[in-house]
């Protein structure tokens, strides 16, 4: 008789979700689903608002990655105004996005994922968290918190506050970077580099004893999507879309983000508010693709900074064509922290950051605008349709956690097939399944535009839909 296991709630991710694991008649895992069970509906209630308000409104989607929404929304507004923003504004937006990537990746690695590597899968759950990490390696934990603080300070130096800065606007930004702010960021860079390098060394050492996880935690063929520059190098706030497959072959390149709907379809899953995008030409399920740090490093040819490029070369050696293990999202995240720090260091030398020419002004010149940016977790689209007065008639948001939805399901199924034997789910197995989700660092506040912390539930379900076992945490 087929059965289903449910994990609900999933811990150490942002938001509230559950996992269902389906067993077949032989008691073997046949499938798995990651459900997002909260709903807020930003797309609907933003209708009727002026497009110029959208950066400030959509930044409220998430207290963790507001900057990503702020920037993508401002870009959609640029498109509606049909303006080219001043170069200094673009550089400043990029600097803020780099600060966002550094702070978000630092939180994901040190706070949410490192406890598993450092303390071990079998450590008691009450210890397997940042406090356990503090007890085991206080300096590592402290420096991780400070690295996140560093990224937040960049955001604050530009936007005036760490969370929800109403700074990026359609047409540009409100203010430049002060000399004082520049000096403050510069002063903290050496510590940030040291922390990132230490984290990288820690992960590479941990990888030696986590070869099984690298083989099992989301290791499968899929497509990858991310922004790249015109020369194929790493991008985070400009450029065009590139899709590659698992062999590393480019299957679509230099796609203007405004054309995303020609390439991506969206389906819905029963029992989840998380949308399921797929690569249209391959349909479902063949059109599954991944976004975020792993994808960005797979689709780019180089980063363009020395330390990060050296690591990128080592990273690419881990795959045949593309790196296909989602466990290596962690590695990719750390490489992106180093890239971010190098690019921040470079940007601080640019006198344009203090420019006063920061904003283009115009009315509604296009009734449709798409803004795309690389959020820490992956490509973020804001797609607005407005009337002649600039009031929103339609809003479509596609966020990283949605793009990765199919891959997260596949990851959970792969881990469950390996570790789940029968109806019993011991705690270390539960944690491994949850970690499969944590590899993607999903943000459910963004993906359903829902608020709240993220406890998790896992359910084991039989072939006729009967729930055999349920584990609730959080």
């Amino acid at each position: 008789m087929a059965k289903r296991i449910v994990i609900d709630p999933v811990t150490r991710i942002e938001g509230h979700a559950k996992i269902s694991i389906f067993l077949d008649d032989a008691g073997q895992v046949s499938d798995a689903e990651f459900h997002v069970v909260e709903f807020r509906g930003f797309e609907k209630f933003c209708e009727g608002r002026p497009f110029s308000e959208m950066p400030a409104i959509t930044a409220r989607i998430c207290g963790i990655c507001p900057v990503s929404h702020l920037l993508a929304s401002a870009k959609a507004g640029d498109a509606i105004m049909a303006v080219a923003i001043p170069p200094a504004a673009d550089k400043l937006r990029r600097l803020m996005n780099l600060g966002q990537i550094v702070q978000s990746h630092a939180l994901s690695f040190f706070h949410l994922s490192a406890p598993d590597f450092v303390l071990g899968w079998d450590a008691p759950p009450s210890k397997r968290n940042v406090f356990g990490l503090i007890a085991a390696d206080p300096e590592l934990a402290r420096s991780g918190i400070r690295l996140r603080q560093f990224g937040q300070e960049i955001i604050e130096a530009l936007g005036g506050k760490k969370i929800h800065p109403a700074w990026a606007v359609p047409g540009g930004v409100r203010s430049g970077l002060s000399e004082e702010g520049n000096a403050r960021i510069r002063q903290r860079l050496p510590e940030a580099f040291a922390t990132a390098e230490a984290a990288l060394a820690l992960f590479l050492k941990a990888l030696e004893s986590h070869k099984e996880e690298a083989l099992i935690f989301g290791n499968f063929q899929s497509l990858f999507m991310g922004l790249v520059a015109p020369d194929g190098s790493w991008e985070h706030h400009g450029g065009c879309l590139r899709f590659t497959d698992s062999t590393g072959s480019v299957i679509a390149d230099q796609v203007e983000p405004s054309r995303y709907l020609e390439f991506l379809g969206e389906s819905v899953q029963e029992a989840s508010y998380l949308k399921t995008p797929y690569f249209k030409a391959l349909g479902l399920p063949g059109g599954m693709y991944r976004v975020g740090p792993l994808a960005r490093l797979n689709v780019c040819e180089r980063i363009g900074t020395p330390r990060a490029d050296a690591e990128l070369r080592a990273f690419k050696q881990m795959g045949r064509g593309a790196v296909t293990s989602s466990f290596l999202y962690h590695y990719a995240r750390l490489i992106e922290i180093i890239a971010g720090l190098e690019l921040i260091e470079r940007a601080l030398e640019d006198p344009d950051l203090a420019s006063e020419d920061l904003r283009a002004d115009a009315g509604v010149n296009s009734l449709h605008g798409v803004g795309a940016s690389e959020a820490p977790r992956g490509t973020l689209f804001h797609d607005y349709t407005v009337d002649r007065s600039g009031l929103l008639k339609k809003v479509n948001l596609i966020v990283a956690t949605g793009h990765n939805n199919l891959a997260m399901n596949r990851t959970v199924a792969q881990i469950a097939r390996h570790y789940v034997q029968g109806e019993d789910i011991p705690e270390p197995v539960l944690n491994r399944i949850e970690h499969g989700i944590r590899c993607y660092d999903p943000c459910l506040s963004c993906s359903t535009h829902a608020a709240g912390q993220m406890p998790m539930r896992i359910r084991l379900v039989g072939p006729r839909g009967n729930v055999l076992r349920e584990v609730v945490r959080g």
């Binding site: 811990t11 150490r12 409220r60 963790i64 939180l107 940042v130 918190i145």
Partner: protein, 155 residues
């Protein structure tokens, strides 16, 4: 370590009464009290542990849907639990993080304000509006009681 009083107001300013905590922080900031720093944020995040550890005392200000009647100020100790689940923390966990990661948890208070309306919008309900006024008074009263209150505002 400094002797300043740190006031952290948190909540979502687009969900009516839930935003009363950040508003209290903003009002206190306008008073420019000597030796007082304020922070307004949507939720408590781990990196706040560092400034919390450096404060002489800290007041967390939040809306409470369970609470009826006047604002409530109570002492807060670091959490005994080491459970931390997601990107955000509660005040007691943040105090524990300050103590364990940065070596010090200051004396702390939780100031809660009754919340009645949590729908979309920025307008406070009457109970929350009155609570805002009383909460600012409570912070001022606490500030008067604390040592070092005549020190200049930290840079």
């Amino acid at each position: 370590m400094d002797s300043h009083l740190l006031v952290i107001g948190y909540g979502n300013t687009l969900r009516r009464d839930d935003g009363v905590g950040p508003r209290v922080a903003a009002r206190v900031e306008e008073l420019r009290l000597p030796g007082v720093l304020t922070m307004a944020c949507p939720q408590l995040t781990p990196e706040l542990a560092d400034p919390v550890s450096q404060a002489g005392a800290v007041v967390f200000v939040d809306a409470s849907v369970e609470q009826r009647g006047p604002v409530r100020l109570r002492r807060l100790d670091p959490s005994g639990s080491s459970q931390i689940l997601a990107h955000a923390a509660d005040p007691r966990i943040l105090l524990a993080l300050a103590r364990d990661a940065f070596g010090r948890a200051p004396q702390a208070w939780m100031l809660t304000i009754p919340a009645k309306e949590l729908g979309f919008g920025e307008r406070l309900s009457r109970p929350a509006s009155l609570g805002l006024r009383d909460a600012v008074r409570a912070v001022r009263a606490l500030h008067r009681r604390l040592p070092g209150r005549r020190r200049p505002r930290p840079a």
